[in-house]
Symmetry: C2
Subunit: 380 residues, 2 copies
């Protein structure tokens, strides 16, 4: 048993810079740089001058190279979901990180406190006992940290109820010298993939209303509530224009995916481009109506449905096993040949990226960069 | 960009040997050694003296430490699904590997040929052009390899049709001096999770019949067809007793999962034990009917349904997002407390294991070993 054994696959580079895309072996996770850069720029432009900060969620890409581009375009830092992700970003020089999650248990709290000595960190709470544990860990390390109270504004995952329960927790935080009460986390995750613009508008408006009432209550109690953060790729323009949110945390917009592609867009809504693909090879052509690609459940996530086959009308990925994807060839369509390449649009970008050690960054069908997915597998 | 960045998360050990299970931070992938060892022994006993070889599929565990235990119990080697997996096992000293897959494209074929110089390797074919490319790669490397023709015996994934098409391909293989025609791959993947024993029996019997007819045809043409390999955890006893199969390749039996747990067992069928779990912490207790664990889509695969909560009647994992699992607490059930640990039974073991760099091997609630998932992420 050696810790080096565990990183063996990760150590092999997936391509060489300068390779033609056709030379990149498969499956590989590729990003089309022109599209990614346009997405980063479009989000930056959408937020600039609107009185809100952009703090993109790095759980989508887990990649410091992308975070640096987002920050260069105006983002104030990143969000992470795990201490291990935050460690990876801080190590890579991205030192302003909000962990949009509760951190529970002594080992993680000790790591969080250690990290807080070297970075500008924030974290969420939704439990009084957790506030005490967090404060104790910070005191023990001689560290301090921004703390936001997570409010359940409709997602029904973590979070205290809006209003009095949030005020009570804000008071608890404010009473701990090692903690800086920074505001509210009011993310309406359930709103992001509501298909119709009117549904997203209604869910986002309700979340903003609950956040507003809660912030008002806390400020009336004499506690400053500087930050209200939330929003995702599906609703960020609504929170931006709400007058309540001060920080936005969309993540998927850099890549997009098939599930976001199914959202109907509102008038004037930005059309972020698909920049993320799974690069595959046709490894078997067993029948006129069927081709098999070399990517399956270990190369893409299927929680939000099968990937789509890009730029190939008549081809549909209908089934996946561990290392195979079954492509149905529609009648009248000429199927791909053995060794042909197909580009897949992942159903859900975040858990798909987490399956790869590297992002192959491509421009004009040529490899321009190899980006480590530095926080891949950072589960704790 | 450095190749070391990509292995950063992998390098951190998930526990220390000797730790109590309660000290292991979460999420973690744990294996209960007593159960795993009983599963390995039960499969070995089921095959011993039956005239068939056991070559367990290593795509399930990707872990040389487990492969070595299987081989110590009588397995002749392992199956892999990817060249990268085979490389990881050969590097770890497991040098008899059948890649139960077609390998397509010059880069992979060159790696395969290089590996074949240092190991006893087998591979599948289902295409005439691929036979030529495979032979050319072997000649270029001065290597040789066992080649099996994959026959579609009902799974409708890869493979040539039984009978004449298989004979034609066997002839092509036999005509290449760098290739050793070794027999047939007749895996009926679709049979493994048919819920009723009679359905599995029928599918397996049909596969065996097609394999028998095809083998007969090939041998009548004067080509020796020594190996007929196939079978999985759901049907292995049927192929074992078929009189046709000479090698069995079950994988999941070492771990089991919720999906296999839904198979009705036939009379006398071995009850393999659940040995694989996702170790989680309750990170939020927001409502009497809901608790949130710190494991989500990046900690377990959901292609075969949500994980089950082990040993906790009244608790059901109903929803997962990237890093959260939502547990419903049935009315009348006392919910878990903040920081409590829950053990989850993965829906599908193979793609779940692939999310982890380490397996934490536990006996009597104490960490006995840490096993690298050496072939984690070995996609190419």
């Amino acid at each position: 048993m050696s810790s080096r054994d565990a990183g063996a696959a990760a150590a092999r580079l997936p391509a060489r810079i300068g390779d033609r895309l056709l030379e990149v072996d498969t499956p590989a996770l590729i990003v089309e740089l022109d599209a990614l850069e346009r997405n980063v720029a479009a989000m930056a432009a959408a937020v600039e001058g609107r009185g809100v900060r952009l703090r993109p969620h790095a759980k989508s890409h887990k990649c410091p190279d992308i975070a640096r581009r987002q920050i260069a375009a105006g983002a104030v830092g990143v969000c992470c979901q795990k201490v291990g992700e935050a460690e990876a970003f801080v190590t890579a020089g991205v030192t302003d990180v909000l962990i949009t999650n509760e951190i529970v248990g002594a080992p993680k709290l000790a790591r969080l406190a250690s990290l807080a000595r070297n970075a500008s960190l924030g974290v969420l709470v939704d439990d009084r006992a957790n506030v005490c544990s967090l404060a104790a860990a910070m005191r023990a390390a001689g560290a301090s940290i921004d703390v936001l109270v997570e409010v359940d504004v409709g997602a029904h995952r973590c979070g205290v109820l809006p209003g009095a329960p949030a005020l009570e927790l804000a008071r608890a935080v404010a009473g701990e010298p090692a903690l800086r009460f920074a505001g509210l986390h009011a993310y309406q995750g359930a709103a992001q993939h509501l298909r119709r613009p009117a549904e997203r508008r209604a869910a986002s408006a309700r979340a903003a209303e609950l956040a507003f009432e809660t912030r008002t209550l806390i400020e009336q109690a004499g506690i400053d509530c500087g930050t209200v953060t939330g929003a995702g790729t599906g609703t960020f323009a609504l929170e931006r224009d709400s007058g309540i949110y001060t920080e936005l945390q969309p993540g998927s917009y850099v890549f997009m995916d098939a599930d976001y592609g199914r959202n109907e867009r509102a008038d004037g809504e930005i059309r972020f481009e698909q920049s993320l693909f799974i690069w595959t090879t046709v490894m078997s052509t067993p029948a006129p109506d069927r081709a098999i690609v070399d990517a399956g459940l270990k190369a893409f996530a299927v929680d939000s449905g099968m990937p789509l086959v890009a730029d190939a009308p008549g081809l549909e990925l209908i089934k996946a096993s561990d290392e195979h994807g079954v492509v149905r060839i529609a009648p009248g369509t000429t199927g791909p040949g053995l060794g042909d390449r197909l580009k897949l649009v992942p159903g859900h970008c975040d858990p798909t990226v987490n399956l790869y050690d590297w992002i192959v960054a491509v421009r004009n069908n040529q490899v321009e960069a190899l980006w480590p997915v530095a926080a891949r597998g950072a589960l704790t």
